[in-house]
Assembly symmetry: C2
Homo-oligomer: 408 residues x 2
């Protein structure tokens, strides 16, 4: 398994063919695109190529989001990918693709790939919850239901951002010192953190009250993105007892632009970690449904290039205790249904080692100096994810802007 | 202040003129409506009446949601209401209204009035949090940040239901006995509850990173609805440590059909309860910005009429510690922005007395037999809200259906 290359060309080989939404200076109206190496393919130009694909409605790629396409049957997604792969194999120069369909990636502006109706963020990594517990209390432990079901909360949809959008340090209320034992003050967040996550995007919707077991849930997942769930740890610490996070997670949630399909990641399945308990029937799966995706976080000083940044974390999606398919089954059992475009994210993906901490909170220890503090203004956080053999996610990146005072 | 009447005609006098979305057997396409007494006015028939209202785009009332209308300036909402009030005053028989614009309320089907991009549920009633704490622990207390800021969590948008839609008892995982000290089991929820709430619907959006102080926040609220945040207390108890509620709140959230405007409720302002602490600058208001809305919950046995139901609760919105304007200011300070159609709800509105418990959880006491148990299958829960003098919310009602097993 080779490492991701600068520029991410190696992430977008013939085995990937992801989907996204893009515009350019001459195509101001965003539309649906795919990617091969460093070329972006504008799919609304491929009508003649795709015209014999049954169930692919005319104009579906002219939309400003992928929702209409992701809602189509898996067989249609497969036919479109295979048709593109065949054309590229015939002529890797891409010169024989339809006129005006190809742009270089560096002249393209990417947009949020889907309209998200509901965003649920879970907490699926046993190492993350135990590292975080150790950081805050000195003791490794997990929430009471952690090994029985995926634990999650509803996140904010209005502050989902496409990679590249700056995040502004929020202002809010928090304990000045030790939680519960100090004054509550109002001002700029002092503990800004990132969270390294993978997200699943719902394709085929699940109507209200319909259930699906974990072993059948993947058919509702169109594909995957990287997610940086920026967290204002001090604001979060004050607000989350007892109803969970709110403003601590609302300054921005950065999403990577390329949705990597189920078919692209299916070659990189792995065994799930062993179960500590029997799981409820709706959560049972084959045990071989984890995804082996190498994840990485790079933190870069103000004004520097990503290549000069310090690698803060390397971890792997397959280390998580629960899969996103299990999360989907868990969410559905409550009766709420799932709509096309809904986003389910993993929460921080960590290992136990110091170099495997998917957020800065995990580095903290009561009474000890951590290897680094929380994020500083101007720092850029870049997540990457790579499966292998030309299949990766590119990057999910954003710079942290300074806080503004209340009246600015 | 007179009490709400059966049929709710008295809620919809000349001082109300609320907005909603409706269809009939002969108008299958839902469109925007208003109401006077027991008549529903289809606003797409009023183009000629409204044609000289500046900034009211043609066709805005033909939409399937109120979003486009609610996003318009307050002056436009006022002009439309005043025009309707003038026409009704001229001829209360409504015979001189445009042809085909009037239907009786009993032949009309109401729909969700807005498309909701984000739904935040807060916890604003000090009596509710203390009653709930007493029920669960025997001791009256409030969460650590309660008197410093509105505490809230993001709710699920896909399971928002219009009044009249049945709610199905969910299945899920919960502690069989005492939380933390018993087995975790999987099956139908055994502790189904209602929550009596008021919700604010955002009209004028607040762009990302823009702030607003509580004293200026009302201008972003188009109007108000009643909300029943059905709660599976056993499922919620297991899942909510540490990330808050998820599936315990996802079976359904019932919303009343008529959005009562700011102008209609403005005649019913009241003093807020005294503050225990100074509040942060963004939360400061005049102290006279509470809303005096009498709330009521009626629980009806299977097959009975609402008039035969037992009144479970009478409370008043003005008893809450925080206002919805303060919630709006609090949400905005985190940087997430607010979009037209967003819903912010109060959480359970209670007083301290036994007849003032806005949910059944508050009736429970460790080691005591409560006056009634949690909800039974087939029971109907009806919320009402009434300001006075022809201004009320009608009802927000739904029946509880039995659970289905996993494979049904």
């Amino acid at each position: 398994m080779s490492s991701p290359q600068p520029g991410y060309t190696s992430h977008f080989g013939i085995g990937n063919i992801p989907f996204g939404v893009a515009s350019t200076a001459s195509r101001l109206h965003p539309s649906c695109v795919s990617r091969f190496q460093d070329s972006v393919l504008f799919l609304d130009k491929f009508d003649a190529v795709f015209k014999d694909i049954d169930e692919l409605p005319q104009g579906v790629f002219s939309r400003t989001s992928l929702n209409a396409f992701t809602a189509l049957p898996r067989s249609v997604h497969q036919a479109v990918r295979q048709r593109l792969q065949a054309l590229i194999r015939e002529d890797e120069s891409l010169r024989s693709l339809p006129a005006g369909s190809v742009e270089k990636v560096d002249v393209v502006t990417m947009h949020l790939p889907v309209e998200v109706g509901d965003f649920t963020d879970f907490s699926l990594s046993a190492d993350h919850v135990q590292n975080a517990s150790e950081a805050m209390t000195g003791k490794r432990s997990a929430p009471p239901s952690f090994y029985h079901q995926p634990v999650g909360y509803a996140g904010r949809c209005s502050s989902l951002d496409i990679s590249g959008t700056p995040v502004e340090r929020p202002i809010g209320q928090y304990w000045e010192g030790k939680p519960g034992e100090s004054r509550i003050v109002f001002g700029p967040c002092k503990k800004m953190d990132f969270e390294l996550e993978l997200g699943a995007i719902i394709g085929k919707p699940l109507p209200r009250r319909e259930r699906v077991t974990a072993s059948q849930a993947d058919k509702h997942i169109f594909g995957y993105v990287l997610v940086n769930d920026w967290s204002a740890r001090d604001i979060q610490a004050l607000e989350m007892n007892p109803l969970g996070p709110l403003n601590g997670k609302n300054a921005g949630t950065t999403v990577s632009p390329w949705v990597v399909t189920q078919d692209a990641v299916n070659n990189f399945r792995a065994a799930s970690p062993p179960r500590l308990h029997d799981v409820a029937p709706y959560l049972r799966d084959s045990g071989n449904n984890a995804l082996s995706i190498e994840l990485q976080v790079i933190v870069t000083a103000p004004g520097s290039e990503a290549s000069e940044g310090a690698v803060s974390c390397k971890s792997n999606v397959s280390w998580m205790y629960w899969t996103l398919a299990q999360c989907l089954a868990h969410q559905a059992i409550g009766g709420c249904g799932l709509r096309t475009g809904d986003l389910l994210a993993t929460g921080t993906v960590s290992g136990q080692g110091d170099g495997e901490h998917g957020c800065l909170l995990e580095h903290m220890r009561v009474g000890q100096t951590p290897p680094r503090a929380y994020l500083e203004d101007g720092e850029t956080v870049t997540l990457t994810g790579y499966c292998g053999e030309g299949v990766g996610f590119g990057e999910c990146t954003a710079v942290l802007l300074p806080a503004r005072l209340l009246n600015n």
